[in-house]
Subunit: 325 residues, 2 copies
């Protein structure tokens, strides 16, 4: 099967959507300083955006509410008051700048840079398991970056429900890299993010200039549920931490009766689910308040079609061998 | 040489002095829940204290100012206004409860629990290189905990200048363990802290009951300076991160011309000091705002005297072989 898709003319690279995820903050600052503009993505324009400047200034995830949960249709289109949280107002600004979400005017691709305290390696996180742009970029990253595990996470939500900044573009994904403590830059993580972004922009350039990307299989981790920490009934404080046998073992299959938590007094609590699943975002700092100790995913193989740009997307004088067949 | 010191009747175990250093927060909560009281330290009373409850509630280092810099003589004894930062007020409360600093009424030992994002292992951090209580506890921890590196850090400051909560006790130290991201509990770090504290209380019990602790050499790292990140002259944003060759290599000797930083554009910056020194607190999250990318220390060997409790500190019916010699 071959699919042809329109060229990607406008790409947005966003960082600091969470103000304490510093690889993305510093990478976007570096992009703004060096103004990559046209050449970075070939003939595509590349726009760097510091998404939450106020939270970045304070080195906090957010001021009033998590910006990266403010991009549902309902949140973007509902009534807005003067007392609205800063991030709600900022989400509308970003939607006006990069969207509007779901419209023809929206940028073609949003790549939103994130860090995690979990041992995530590099993840492409998207809402679709058939967005061939996102999936082909993922496969390209996997091949170009053999020294870091690269995975594709699929949150199966409709365009209506999708809540994150990357959902504003025609295509979009979060580029999530860890482990890195929030409020810290680690060179190895920063460099991996920089390379991941560069390969993404390389892919866009190759795609726009007519390169044919062969189809084939790719593994997709589809979110299937989550597990919260055991908590005290009154205080809601956690009463157990991730078990040392599970810590840092993101994307390693969790089997029934495997250790999941160790209580603060030292007792082991085991996985009581009946189905072996793949844990990820294990012990992510920001998810303590969201009631998530880890997510669980099913792994499936998706078959990517061969992909190339629409002929009308090519330069007028473009001739490729495959095109002439 | 033999030294005899008064028994340690009152011990304070503090956590949450920084509200996002969660091993200490959860360990103190566990102590408060299980009320170790008398038996934990033998006949010494053990008091658990959540030092900064408001910051802990918000999972932040502090609300207004760093509590663990509020215990200088000047800060504790200066005038206080209604507009004083919360932590200044809280510091006086803690000084009244556990001190007053420098007085006979002060508790005998403060053990203040801290976490670091740096690869610190377990450190005893104190203001003296001849506080034999702190140094003997350090040596005891080193022997009892062979699976984690245990080190002694000496900040050479007078009682006047010493700024941290542990300086309120007659003896005191910070028990610093890392790496752990702030806002996260890692089971291995929590367990190491719990064991470190248990061994500390065991040592107090042994000391109080007349055990003779042999003298001998111990390595001490005395703070000799610090290095800030390279920063932009206008924005003060950092322009380089810790070099990947230095990251996580706390307490490994740094030689002239060794890599220290990698700029955000990828350039290596080298150590220009003339003297080989031992770096520690490398890339600690909380020190970005303090202008500290790493501390540097000199390592020296200190000879500990043989230590035992004053005879009048012993139970009336106590007889030991060594006492009878």
């Amino acid at each position: 099967m071959e699919v042809r898709l329109p060229r990607l003319s406008r790409v947005a690279v966003c960082g600091g959507t969470h103000g304490n995820e510093l690889s993305g903050v510093y990478l976007v600052r570096e992009l703004l300083r060096t103004a990559p503009g046209a050449e970075a993505g070939g003939d595509a324009s590349v726009q760097a955006v510091l998404s939450n400047p106020r939270a970045t200034q304070l080195c906090r995830r957010y001021l009033d509410t998590d910006l990266n949960r403010c991009f549902t249709r309902a949140a973007l289109n509902g009534p807005v008051s003067d007392a609205a949280p800063y991030e709600m107002t900022r989400a509308r600004e970003l939607d006006a700048q990069l969207g509007p979400k779901g419209s023809e005017r929206a940028v073609d691709l949003v790549c939103d840079l994130h860090n995690s305290t979990s041992n995530m390696g590099l993840c492409v996180i998207a809402y679709s398991d058939c967005d061939w742009i996102c999936l082909h970029i993922f496969r390209y990253l996997q091949r170009q970056m053999p020294n870091i595990p690269v995975r594709y996470i699929h949150f199966d939500l409709s365009d209506e429900e999708s809540f994150s900044l990357d959902s504003v573009g025609k295509h979009g994904f979060a580029l999530e890299i860890g482990p890195q403590p929030h409020g810290v830059v680690r060179s190895n993580i920063y460099t991996a993010m920089k390379e991941g972004l560069q390969h993404t922009l390389d892919w866009v350039r190759l795609f726009n200039s007519g390169t044919v990307f062969d189809g084939g299989p790719a593994d997709v981790f589809t979110m299937a549920g989550h597990v919260d920490y055991p908590r005290d009934g009154d205080t809601r404080n956690i009463t157990a931490a991730i078990h040392p046998h599970l810590q840092d073992r993101d994307f390693c299959l969790l089997l029934p009766e495997d250790p999941v938590f160790q209580t603060l007094s030292g007792q082991t609590l085991r996985y009581k689910g009946g189905e072996p699943l793949y844990p990820f975002f294990i012990n992510e700092c920001a998810y303590y308040e969201k009631g998530v100790a880890l997510y669980l995913a099913r792994k499936r193989s998706v078959t990517l079609p061969t992909l190339r740009v629409h002929k009308e997307g090519l330069p007028a004088n473009f001739v490729s061998e495959k095109e002439e067949e």
